[in-house]
Symmetry: C2
Subunit: 429 residues, 2 copies
Amino acid sequence: MTNKTWRVGVAGLGTVGGGLLQFLADRPDFAPAGDSAVVTAVSARSKSRPRTIDISGLTWFDDPVALAGSPDIDLFVELVGGSDGPAKAAVETALKAGKPVVTANKALIAEHGAELAALAEAQGVPLLFEAAVMGGVPAVKMMREAMVGDDIDSVAGILNGTCNFILSEMEKTGRSFADVLREAQALGYAEADPTMDVGGFDAGHKITILAALAFGCAPNFAAAEIEGIEAVELLDIKLAKDLGYRIKLVASAARTEDGVAVKVHPSLAPLEHPLAQAGGALNALFIEGRRVGRIFVQGPGAGAGPTAAAVAADIADVMTGAVRPVFQAPSGNLKPFIAVDPSRTVGKAYLRIMVRDEPGAIAAISETLAECGVSIDSFLQKPVEGAGGVPIVLVTHATPESNLLDAITRIEKLRAVLERPRLLRVARI
Amino acid sequence: MTNKTWRVGVAGLGTVGGGLLQFLADRPDFAPAGDSAVVTAVSARSKSRPRTIDISGLTWFDDPVALAGSPDIDLFVELVGGSDGPAKAAVETALKAGKPVVTANKALIAEHGAELAALAEAQGVPLLFEAAVMGGVPAVKMMREAMVGDDIDSVAGILNGTCNFILSEMEKTGRSFADVLREAQALGYAEADPTMDVGGFDAGHKITILAALAFGCAPNFAAAEIEGIEAVELLDIKLAKDLGYRIKLVASAARTEDGVAVKVHPSLAPLEHPLAQAGGALNALFIEGRRVGRIFVQGPGAGAGPTAAAVAADIADVMTGAVRPVFQAPSGNLKPFIAVDPSRTVGKAYLRIMVRDEPGAIAAISETLAECGVSIDSFLQKPVEGAGGVPIVLVTHATPESNLLDAITRIEKLRAVLERPRLLRVARI
């Protein structure tokens, strides 16, 4: 073991960057593999903004790209965020200069991971991103390093704490999505522009990265099928519970003979299932491997403490001198990402059909479902005050998605049906 | 990345060794970091025993120590087992010869980890043991690598699948410990001599290793306080459930100002707690860190598939060339292990007191508890057929263990009390 001191440049001094500086200030002895790390230079949007950590002794850069290229740092930490722009330019600059890079930027890795991996591997330097997925839960390390002795068939979980918090609050307090979102924004749990979170894109970035690590293919965010929680209604949360399920934003990636399916959907998880029980801002993940079986991991997915600890663990990994591919295989050997046609997906589904309370409605619906080859697993009709009609809810047996969509289109046209039926998937967990 | 082929010597061809050979036969392309691994030499108790994998092309060694020292291997995998004897001699021989060692041997690491770490670090070669704890769940990697950016306060979990299976079966089928153990032995889930498992020693080895990784102290198996499940009675399983708990063999390690407490006890976990819900042969672990918060991980803790995958992941780690300490810090910097006096431990407890059904029994018991400073959280008196007396069960508020033991000694002497009260701890989870 050497006793080198690594000069670390940190671009971005928000929650995670501030947490990292605090961590290294609290732990001046941080040298898990012999070497130690000291932040010597920083870059952020505003130099003068009040901060809990004194940065006056550090070299200041207005431009993160200039920091990344500085000969006075040995390791670049990118916490700027965003899939393109300065974050990408800075990471490319550092890698081209032969500097190891640690980042928490899920959008960057999900959208440009393959090209950045090729660049890092050509330069022989690590590109690490533990903090990009599940905060302090080492999901990336588990997939990249611990699961190399296995063939992973699927991963599925709750990867966005904001959505999980909102859905949990809706159920607990009986308030609407819009109402709970406003509160979450006031409390700082949700961003002023919440689209990345509630639109499912943040979870989509994360599951794209996990899919690449699990299956040895290049990350392909564009191929992910993404639906957010904006349209989740309290009515569905209640009715799903009556049927024994809880609605969660489930991100999943599965490998079949046809290719890879990467999805984010509000989905029904059985109430007794660990994913249904992960409430509040928790993140949770199932990994299903052919040899290892099913592994479940759960923990806080965000926040300064967990995320900064994940960045620090990546810095420690750089200092060990380990040489491994950025994803599961060297970037030249990554398999092309072949997306499965979503309409060919087979799974159980939840349908809510609002009908006028008149004779024959159920008969017409069940006849239509039968014609489309959709069979029913459980069924509930329950008057709900103020719902503007009577909701009929049912959970189907496993059905090809195309049959389901066909049935929905036909049911919508039935005389007794008031609006397009609401479709939610039952999580395959 | 280089393209070296590592010649691997494997000592021990039981479940894990056979699984590893099968894995490398199934995955001839196994080269996660560029290098590849090929088993070239083996050692086992019997050369001629029928095996599913053909070993006729491999160099045979009668003596694992001779295999460990062979100049024709680059990496030594020790799957012989046992804390001393040939396993220890072989690992020492390999390390002294400057060869990386991968082992699944929890007893060896728990009992001799510090001296072996010193030897490995002096030689600058890795000593890895992921398969020693929780099978395919990367608990060791999580503690050693992912949690370096945190200060761990405690770890607690279910680390022995055999005990968990037996306790789950007792509850499910209403059969006695002895009865279920016999069945588990017939099914191959328990060894002919089950002491290591049911006596809590296997879990003790594992939690000793996790404590060393978590707290940066030398592993000290001798300081672990260990109680097995042999004396767990069906009656307590039932009564605990009436009080809202399930009995699990919980292994825990906690750091306080006074030192480190490492324990294995049959303990009560609240029914709704994830540890209570990990049934069958599952393993499960909570990690509590100051920055990261609470992380929970669960999976199959044994079996050829998971354990061989963990050994393969360690081989991959060796091939990355990473240089890190064997435990959390270089062996010269490991803190001395200061064990907390068990009598100073404070926690909730379950007491079952068998009494003659006569007036004044409850009054005498509650008076004695009050005199000893033990206050009661919940209380249950319930006639149980064939129990030979009436059981009074209670769960205390948090109490120093010394007060509890004092109370038990005094209660045992009360006229209405038939036998020494049964004490079980409530898990601090």
